[in-house]
């Protein structure tokens, strides 16, 4: 188990350094099983940091989310390092961002947190109701101990964690400068059973399914903004000059948006499932993303966010790449 | 007068004349337009400072100041700098073509309050467009106002708008002080930025009002210099712009603090803007 005091000490140690300008971690949320990403700039603030099964956000997104406005004349940009805490799945985002040269390895200090799973807030709401007080959740291999304002409950891990945690192959960060706990065994292999089940549907049924789902979309772009791999300064979908996708929310534009995003993530999505978690209208976005992940694995034997030396899939070529539609 | 039943409906206007004021990539084109439905004039009235949403069906609309004074009857003038989608589409138009106008919207310069005072207009580049109706209003109502001084600067002499009108100002006895940013051959007037031109001309704040429009950074320094010259915030007026879509205070985006530039503006006194932190952020 990660010792929270040791984690805070480590954070302090990092923030005190002259060559570090900020540290990204989690703090307790304001209600229920919420946690909030927090950006610390001073070592005196580390006591706000937490680490438990509520720490769901993928903090690698905050690395690319940071806005860098033009620096006033006479000032130099602050190029010091950013420290970030990551779980296993989050670390794959960092590797993929490094593969794509979003930043240099030296620009970040990665604090690795082997993770046993994070609470699925929808499942938690079913089990514990609508909570106004913040709750804590400590997890081990089988059980999750919940503390709701001093009221303790225990539940089975499998009943309360996110679906991705049930098939987690990478509980340990694949890149780190410090690892805050000993390694954890992977929880399961991914057989993509959900993808293959969906593939069995008829084209008409698939189309109907997606029509119903995309019809709900309100184009809040939360899925895109939370995604650690969506970091284009100007996104194709919201570009105005020229404008490729209309802003109106009819089924054609909504479908175009989601399909475009799924394609742009092909070979890049590291399956943190944040997009599906944040969607306010519950669109099962991972259906598309996991299909792409599955196809990429089958066709190219490639898994994004694992090997930092591997070139980006769609920016590289192997002679035995399948391309029967060209020749 | 906008269509009362539906303020989103534009009027169709025909371009009577169109000509370029300035050259280059960001050229300025002036359009003289008239309503295709003459009856619109029956309820139309606008005041200097007011604007209209001008555009083309199939493209969109943007906010432009009405660059003609009410005394210029039978037509409206707009001066458009080519920058993006709507302005490029407008630049394609020539005499005989149609565009849309929706307005008038916004407030106007409080010319009634300025009667008897000396007026100084300080314009930069395309910022002269909203000052033009003020100048023409004063010229058309000469005896109601004190002295008129027109200060106007642009990057080069090619970039001055409404070039043909400067000699008329001088003939009528108004001050006309021009400037270019960098010296050029055969330029007999001031060389330097507009805020410096202002200090050179050094108008007296006694019973005077200063009106300025131009790039945001120019406005900022002009206001600083006007204060140095002794103008009180209540004596300084400007007209601002922001991105606009509805033009009628509903879509929300043009706000500066609690003020909507399309409705509470675009004309603001510095006394008002001083109280708004967002105004000079």
């Amino acid at each position: 188990m990660v010792d929270l005091n040791k984690l805070r000490d480590k954070a302090k140690e990092v923030l005190i350094r002259d060559d570090v300008r900020r540290l990204i971690g989690w703090k307790r949320g304001t209600y229920g099983f919420e946690s909030a990403p927090v950006v610390l700039k001073d070592a005196s603030e580390v006591d706000i940091l937490i680490w438990d099964a509520t720490c769901v956000q993928n903090l690698a997104s905050l690395l690319t989310l940071e806005e860098k406005p033009p620096v006033p004349r006479g000032q130099e940009p602050d190029t010091r390092k950013v420290a970030v805490m990551v779980k296993g799945c989050d670390s794959r985002a960092i590797i993929q961002q490094l593969i794509e040269k979003a930043y240099e390895r030296d620009d970040v200090i990665v604090i690795g947190l082997p993770c046993r799973g994070v609470v699925d807030r929808r499942k938690a709401r079913e089990l514990f109701g609508d909570l106004a007080v913040p709750a804590e959740a400590k997890i081990d291999a089988e059980k999750v101990t919940i503390d709701i304002g001093g009221d303790f409950k225990t539940v089975e891990r499998k009943d309360v964690v996110m679906d991705k945690c049930l098939r987690c192959r990478y509980p340990n960060p694949l890149v780190s400068d410090t690892m805050m706990d000993s390694e954890i065994e992977k929880f399961a292999d991914d057989d993509f059973a959900d993808v293959e089940e969906f593939e069995k549907k008829s084209p008409d049924d698939k189309w109907k399914h997606f029509d119903e789902q995309f019809d709900k979309c309100i184009r809040c772009y939360s899925c895109r903004n939370v995604c650690p791999m969506c970091y284009c300064v100007e996104c194709l979908v919201t570009k105005l000059r020229p404008q490729w996708t209309r802003r109106s929310t009819d089924i054609s534009e909504n479908t175009a948006y989601h399909i475009q995003r799924a394609w742009h993530l092909a070979g890049r999505c590291i399956e943190c499932m944040e997009c599906q978690r944040v969607c306010p209208v519950d669109i099962p976005l991972m259906t598309l993303n996991r299909k792409m992940t599955h196809d990429v694995k089958e066709m190219f034997e490639y898994e994004p966010g694992v090997d930092p030396e591997a070139p980006p899939l769609l920016a590289s070529y192997k002679p035995n790449d399948p391309e029967d539609y060209i020749m | 007068m906008m269509d009362e039943s539906n303020p989103y409906l534009p009027y169709t206007v025909k371009v009577e004349e169109a000509w370029f004021e300035t050259p280059g990539e960001r050229c300025i084109k002036t359009f003289k337009v008239n309503f295709t439905d003459e009856k619109v004039w029956d309820t139309w009235s606008h005041k200097p400072g007011q604007c209209a949403m001008v555009g083309r069906l199939g493209v969109g609309e943007s906010m432009f100041c009405i660059s003609s004074a009410p005394s210029e009857e039978g037509y409206l003038r707009f001066s458009v700098m080519r920058m993006g989608k709507v302005t490029s589409a407008l630049h394609e138009l020539e005499a005989g073509d149609l565009m849309t106008v929706r307005g008038p919207v916004g407030n106007s310069f409080p010319l009634d309050e300025w009667e008897g005072k000396d007026i100084v207009t300080i314009g930069g580049g395309i910022g002269q467009a909203p000052l033009r109706p003020v100048i023409n209003y004063i010229r058309a109502n000469r005896d109601r106002f004190g002295e008129l001084k027109v200060l106007y600067g642009a990057r080069t002499s090619d970039d001055h708008c409404f070039k043909g009108e400067f000699d008329d100002f001088r003939k009528e006895g108004h001050g006309c002080h021009l400037a270019v940013d960098v010296s050029e051959e055969k330029w007999p007037h001031f060389v330097g930025f507009v805020p410096n031109l202002l200090m050179e001309v050094s108008p007296s704040p006694e019973n005077a009002v200063a009106v300025t429009c131009g790039p945001p950074v120019m406005i900022k320094f002009v206001i600083q210099n006007l204060e140095k010259l002794g103008f009180a915030p209540e004596q300084i007026y400007t007209t601002l712009e922001e991105r606009m879509k509805c033009g009628i205070g509903k879509c929300g985006r043009c706000n500066i603090g609690h003020l909507y530039v399309c409705k509470d503006g675009p004309v603001f006194s510095y006394a008002t803007l001083k109280e708004i932190p967002e105004a000079f952020a």
């Binding site: 949320g29 304001t30 209600y31 946690s35 909030a36 990403p37 956000q57 905050l62 989310l65 806005e67 406005p69 609508d130 909570l131 106004a132 709900k216 309100i218 809040c220 772009y221 939360s222 895109r224 903004n225 939370v226 919201t238 109106s248 929310t249 978690r277 944040v278 306010p280 519950d282 | 906008m2 039943s5 539906n6 303020p7 989103y8 409906l9 295709t36 069906l57 199939g58 493209v59 969109g60 943007s62 920058m83 993006g84 989608k85 149609l98 945001p216 712009e241 991105r243 509805c246 009628i248 205070g249 509903k250 879509c251 929300g252 985006r253 706000n255 500066i256 609690h258 409705k263 932190p277």
Partner: protein, 346 residues
């Protein structure tokens, strides 16, 4: 004014009696509730806390046509939102109804918006009082209450097996007469139970904020660094604004489809960077710090400065759905604690 009651299991009969109206009600699909036009009364469920997307989408649709035209033509075919049968929003929560009254101020300001006003005039609101406010509800802090009858034409109270319906306005009476065949007169028992429920519900509200002084204080905190605490993690998405019942900003775009064109408006959000981006590239609110500050200031300072009412109804959706737990009550509490410049230098 009439007071009625009907058994909850007879809800489908009551809805069927409204056949001359276009009825919108909460429909639960895959566990998620959203207001929809009711095709089959059996789909309607009054057993819900609140919809994810607020019923503002019924008065101010996410995308709507302003007018149509032919490319190259000048005739405008103007959409008429008040066309068709009278509409009923059946089962709207008091907070969402209060939001309409708040937004009326802006949509009726100077140039009345015929699309919004047209729908408003053609819609009857039948409210559903809250028996169990959700954890993040704070309507009493912003002038509302779980059973507020101020902004609806009729109010229903879910008393368990029975629904008690109170007609409140003339338009509410219209509804009452339409459904008179499917309901019975209510008596003192129902009235008393409803009043009791309303009082209990107010007691169940768990979160609050004292808003006095906030509208005046926020502009003085313009340069204060406390905004960064929130903007640092803001994703810049549209969830808080799109799910907010009082947010009303929109974009207008021309859409050309060969020769058939329309000018449409669609929801926009001050959280997107393009919202205030000038064509020149200048953006008066270039980063999320400015945009976050603007959003909160608009709701709790600018709007009240203009219209004397805070543009928030305490529905809690922004808190419930923000992916990074940016909590408006947290922001407001911190703003109260933050020292304004004058206080700092004193």
């Amino acid at each position: 004014m009439g007071d009625f009651k009907f058994a909850k299991e007879k809800l489908t009969d009551v809805l069927s009696a409204l056949k001359d109206f276009k009825v919108f009600a909460p429909v639960k699909t895959d566990g998620v509730v959203r207001f929809q036009e009711v095709a089959d009364p059996a789909q309607v469920s009054l057993d819900y806390s609140n919809s994810n997307v607020p019923p503002k989408e019924l008065m101010f649709p996410e995308t709507e046509t302003l007018f149509r035209y032919r490319l190259g033509g000048t005739d405008l075919d103007v959409a008429n939102p008040a066309e068709g049968p009278k509409r009923v929003i059946f089962g709207i929560r008091p907070c969402d109804a209060q939001a309409f009254s708040i937004v009326d101020n802006l949509y009726g300001w100077d140039f009345p918006d015929p699309y919004f006003q047209g729908r408003r005039a053609n819609t009857v609101l039948v409210g559903l009082a809250c028996a169990d406010p959700c954890a993040n509800c704070f309507c009493p802090s912003v002038g509302g209450s779980p059973a507020s009858e101020d902004n609806v034409d009729a109010m229903m109270f879910d008393l368990g097996d029975t629904i008690y319906l109170k007609g409140l306005t003339d338009r509410g009476e219209e509804i009452a007469s339409a459904i008179s065949g499917a309901v019975e007169a209510a008596g003192d028992a129902e009235k008393k139970a409803a009043a009791g429920q309303a009082e209990e519900a107010s007691g169940k509200i768990q979160r609050s904020i004292d808003t006095s002084g906030i509208p005046e204080k926020l502009p003085s905190l313009y340069d204060h660094p406390f905004w960064e605490q929130f903007s640092d993690r803001c994703l810049g998405c549209g969830i808080c604004t799109f799910l907010c019942p009082t947010c009303h900003c929109f974009d207008i775009q021309d859409e050309v489809e060969q020769f058939d064109c329309r000018r449409a408006r669609m929801w926009d959000t001050c959280m997107f960077s393009e919202y205030s981006l000038h064509t020149s590239g200048h953006n008066p609110r270039p980063t999320r710090k400015e945009r976050t500050r603007n959003r909160i200031s608009h709701k709790y300072s600018y709007f009240p400065t203009k219209f004397d009412v805070i543009a928030c109804v305490g529905c809690g959706r922004c808190i419930n759905y923000c992916p990074v737990n940016i909590d408006i009550l947290d922001i407001l509490e911190k703003s109260k604690q933050a020292e304004a410049k004058e206080e700092q230098t004193a």
